[in-house]
């Protein structure tokens, strides 16, 4: 065991608390307790997980694992008897929480209101479950507390009396939230009732936690408040500034609710901190943020848990106490870091299978981090529910279904069965999203393929699967799925258009819902097109999405990347600035913006952005490289060399940095030894690039070689094969290519040039070059017809007797080539359709020049395209 940093640790959770709301309040002097907290401790942003659903997130915080391991996969689960759904319970959690580990280590914990924590676990200490504060009846009808709400049982009576019923909330309590309360007719507007309920819940949790904090012995306390999240979901739409389209009257009534909620939390924090001694470390966290500005969505998607769309990716984290730095900022924190940090504070090892890490940057002194293989393997009593109470609710539901099938029990009502099934699918979907978030894409694909098969009309599942295929470079599968999803979308849109107003209204329950879910398929298609080296088409897709999703960080970054590829610097700048408005700490966005400044000759502005990028992520090698470039422009050559050296320390193979260093040391800094070092590296490692024109025979490869020749791009050909009737302008072949399978010695000749290699030979290319493949695609029937004619088999063509076996063999071979290309990181491919080149040459030729990064002569290239040579065109219905 390492040294224990704190005698006691108090963890406070404020669901959805966001710095964007807090900072202005602190500046106005309205959150003085938190202001003092920040000055006396460290704080920063904490990154959420996807999906940002609170029961999953607070369980990840308390366990250090993602949902696939901890077992809490959504808001609801089926009842044990399959008769209905219930809020998710603690019995579904499959792993130890921090309080269970501390129980095993002989420590006492108080846990108040954690989500989910019902029924309360038999821990060493006191647990008050998340059902504690719920009031389902008017107080006159009695306010029972269900069994299992409090452990130990003997504390139940005392704690029961510390709850606040919503009906106890008075006008005096409500005035800071709704100053115009008297103008509201609550029969018609239920918002004041909701706000009173949220306030009562917060007061109940606070009442129980202050009692336990003062009256019990404890080593660890965890207190969870959901009020800020609920105030925000109810009233963030009314939070200033006023937004067009909102009823002004409602805005005037409810614009103070969110701020009042935060201020009340500050008041509660003051009392909590009054009772904390000098031996206690206090940690305040939220699980995600909440959009409070122009990034608030105008609509919510039509899917379960839609309100999570209002959540923003960064919550808050603050620490203060013995051994914690003062006035510092924490960078790079994640919700998965909470349990590792708590374990470290208690001097306990962290699980090697925990994804997060302790936030050591917050500690004054370095600490020794010890690890343990897996806390789940540590035997002994840990205060979890007994095995007979713990269950996987979905497994239990399946067992129930079996009993129904066997005839032992009656089937539940059809609607209930449908709801249970739909909830099960959603839970699976959330786990898949969580796996994607954790880069476990293969596992996510497994789940999503099942979901898509079982729910073919649920576009969301298909969209995620398409993204996974993209991530794993399964471009053909991604493309196929996107086409299916686009067809499905047309069908769904048609169905929606044919709905009656009543049916549509019933579907669109949220008052702010204006439009259908933005075209996420277009977004995935755009990403696919980027991978397929079609930046112009990719941008068209992204722009379609941007019209409907005005605040997506990933979308802005992708638009920025595409604009950079197309040298549209001002557009790229705009995109990165928008990305920074969502996340102003993003290294990628600062780097992208810096690159735009660099390429438009603003090296000082560029440096500013690059420095911000490395402040966020010091290991971003490209940022260091571009710092070098900017410093060269400013004639600060020594510093530039240092920057390039840092770049290659992170990416030793960065040839462009080596080139600069060789040049600088040789010609400017008079260090011939170092210059030699880098020159040697370049000689031994530089790969060289070869442009390959490929495809099936008769797919247009000769035409493409002629086009490249006309552009001025060097072509490798020996003209052994002379032009003929089938190819009057020449074959542009290179004889040694035919022996590629056994002889690769000719490849150095191809460096920096284009060479024609048929598709079937591509997998024989060695891995020590970079390849850019222009792959010609042509209708298979046309290819076969052309081949038959070339072979003198015109009779087959006229009788349309094609060798169909050949067609399927070619298709199979193409599939193998596609798989090979997808798996080769040093291979870039651009699919070019022969018909498109003939019919729309300018656009296609521009794409090609972009792909090979060559400033060619488009007019000369266009002259090569001869429609009269487009023979064997087959009319398709």
């Amino acid at each position: 065991m390492s040294k224990r940093m704190a005698k006691k640790v108090l963890l406070i959770g404020w669901d959805a608390a966001d710095w964007k709301v807090i900072y202005p309040l602190i500046n106005e002097g309205k959150m003085p307790t938190l202001a003092k907290f920040l000055a006396e401790g460290t704080h920063g942003k904490i990154k959420t997980l996807d999906p940002p659903l609170s029961p999953m997130l607070w369980t990840s915080m308390a366990t250090g694992y993602r949902a696939d391991k901890h077992g809490i996969t959504g808001f609801v689960e089926p009842l044990a008897d399959n008769s209905n759904l219930r809020p998710v319970t603690s019995t579904s959690r499959k792993v130890k929480a921090i309080w269970n580990i501390l129980h095993q280590e002989g420590m006492k914990s108080n846990v108040v209101g954690w989500w989910p924590s019902n029924p309360a676990e038999p821990i060493n200490g006191v647990m008050v479950s998340n059902l504690y504060q719920q009031a389902h009846k008017p107080i006159e009808k009695g306010w029972d507390m269900p069994d299992g709400t409090v452990h130990p049982e003997e504390m139940a009576d005392t704690l029961k009396e510390l709850r606040v019923h919503p009906s106890e909330i008075t006008g005096q309590h409500m005035l800071p939230f709704i100053p115009k309360l008297k103008e509201i007719e609550v029969e018609n507007d239920k918002r004041p009732v909701s706000i009173a309920k949220i306030l009562a819940h917060a007061a109940s949790i606070h009442s129980a936690s202050t009692y336990l904090q003062r009256e019990t012995e404890w080593d660890f306390m965890a207190v969870y408040h959901d009020a800020i999240d609920h105030f925000s979901h109810a009233c963030m739409k009314f939070h200033p500034p006023y937004r067009k389209g909102l009823p002004k009257e409602l805005f005037e009534k409810y614009k103070d609710v969110v701020n009042a909620g935060y201020m009340f939390h500050d008041m509660m924090l003051e009392r909590t901190l009054q009772m904390v001694d000098d031996d206690t470390i206090v940690m305040l966290v939220s699980d995600h943020g909440f959009h409070s500005d122009h990034l608030r969505p105008k609509y919510l998607v039509k899917e379960p848990a839609a309100p999570a769309q209002e959540h923003s990716p960064y919550g808050i984290v603050c620490l203060k106490g013995p051994g914690i730095k003062k006035g510092e900022i924490i960078h790079g924190a994640s919700v998965l870091d909470v349990t590792p940090t708590l374990l470290t504070l208690f001097g306990l090892p962290i699980g090697e299978n925990m994804e997060g890490k302790p936030l050591v940057q917050a500690f004054e002194e370095p600490v020794e981090i010890k690890t343990i293989k897996d806390w789940e393997k540590v035997e002994g009593e840990c205060g979890m529910h007994p095995d007979d109470l713990q269950e996987d609710p979905w497994a239990a539901q399946e067992a129930m279904e079996q009993l129904v099938e066997l005839g032992y029990i009656e089937a539940p009502d059809e609607n209930i069965a449908e709801r249970i099934n739909s909830t099960k699918q959603e839970s699976k979907y959330y786990v898949a999203r969580n796996l994607i978030d954790g880069n476990k894409t293969d596992k996510a694909i497994e789940l999503l393929e099942e979901l898509v098969e079982d729910n073919p009309r649920e576009i969301r599942y298909g969209q995620r699967l398409a993204q996974c295929y993209l991530k794993k470079r399964k471009f053909a599968k991604c493309k196929e799925l996107i086409e299916k999803l686009k067809e499905l979308q047309v069908i769904l849109e048609k169905e929606e258009a044919e709905m009656t107003d009543e049916e549509r209204e019933k579907k669109n329950k949220q008052w702010m819902r204006e439009i259908e879910l933005p075209n996420y398929i277009d977004y995935v298609e755009g990403q696919l097109l980027m991978h397929l080296n079609r930046p112009k088409k990719a941008l068209q897709c992204f722009k379609k999405v941007e019209e409907k999703v005005p605040n997506s960080f990933d979308l802005f970054v992708n638009i920025g990347k595409v604009c950079i590829l197309r040298h549209r610097w001002e557009d790229a700048k705009d995109a990165y600035i928008k990305a920074l408005s969502v996340d102003d700490t993003s290294a990628i966005a600062h780097h992208g913006l810096g690159l735009c400044f660099l390429r438009t000759n603003q090296p000082e502005e560029a440096l500013e952005e690059f420095f911000l990028a490395i402040e966020s992520n010091y290991t971003l090698a490209n940022a260091h490289y571009h710092i070098g470039e900017a410093l060269v422009k400013l004639d600060k050559l020594q510093e530039a060399a240092q920057a390039f050296e840092v770049a290659i320390s992170f990416t030793p193979g960065m040839t462009k940095a080596h080139k600069w260093l060789a040049d600088l040391y040789e010609n400017e800094l008079n260090d011939t030894d170092k210059a030699k070092e880098h020159l040697n590296f370049l000689e031994n490692n530089i790969r060289g690039e070869i442009v390959i024109v490929s495809g099936l025979p008769r797919s247009g490869t000769s035409m493409m070689m002629q086009i490249l020749d006309a552009a001025g791009f060097p072509v490798l050909t020996d003209k052994v094969r002379e032009p003929d009737n089938n190819n009057p302008k020449g074959y542009y072949e290179f004889e040694p290519v035919k022996k590629l399978m056994v002889d690769k010695s000719w490849l150095p000749e191809a460096k920096g040039k284009s060479v024609k290699i048929i598709a079937q030979l591509l997998p024989f290319l060695p891995a020590n070059y970079n390849y850019k493949i222009i792959f010609m695609r042509r209708d298979m029937d046309e290819v076969l017809q052309s081949q038959q004619i070339m072979l003198g088999k015109e009779t087959d063509v006229k009788s349309k007797a094609f060798p169909m076996g050949l067609s399927s063999a070619f298709k199979k071979q193409l599939g193998k080539v596609e798989d090979w290309v997808d798996s080769q990181p040093h291979v870039d491919i651009l699919d070019v359709n022969y018909t498109d080149v003939v019919n729309n040459p300018k656009e296609e030729l521009e794409s090609i020049l972009h792909f090979i990064n060559f400033d060619g002569n488009i007019e000369e290239m266009e002259k090569v395209v001869d429609k009269s040579l487009y023979r064997n065109q087959i009319e398709k219905n």
Binding site: Q172, P176, H206, A208, S209, M267, Q274
Partner: protein, 50 residues
Amino acid sequence: MTEKKNKKMDIPLEGSLGLLAYGDLGLKAWRAKIKEEEKKKPVKKEKKDE
């Protein structure tokens, strides 16, 4: 209600956010105040039919 620094606080009958923010002690003090005021109210005698 007496705070840590032996400062007596007025407890408004309508309650206040400050009392709720004070936690269990604030809540108890407010409820005690309500009970106290309830006791002061005259008890209504029921009229019997003649």
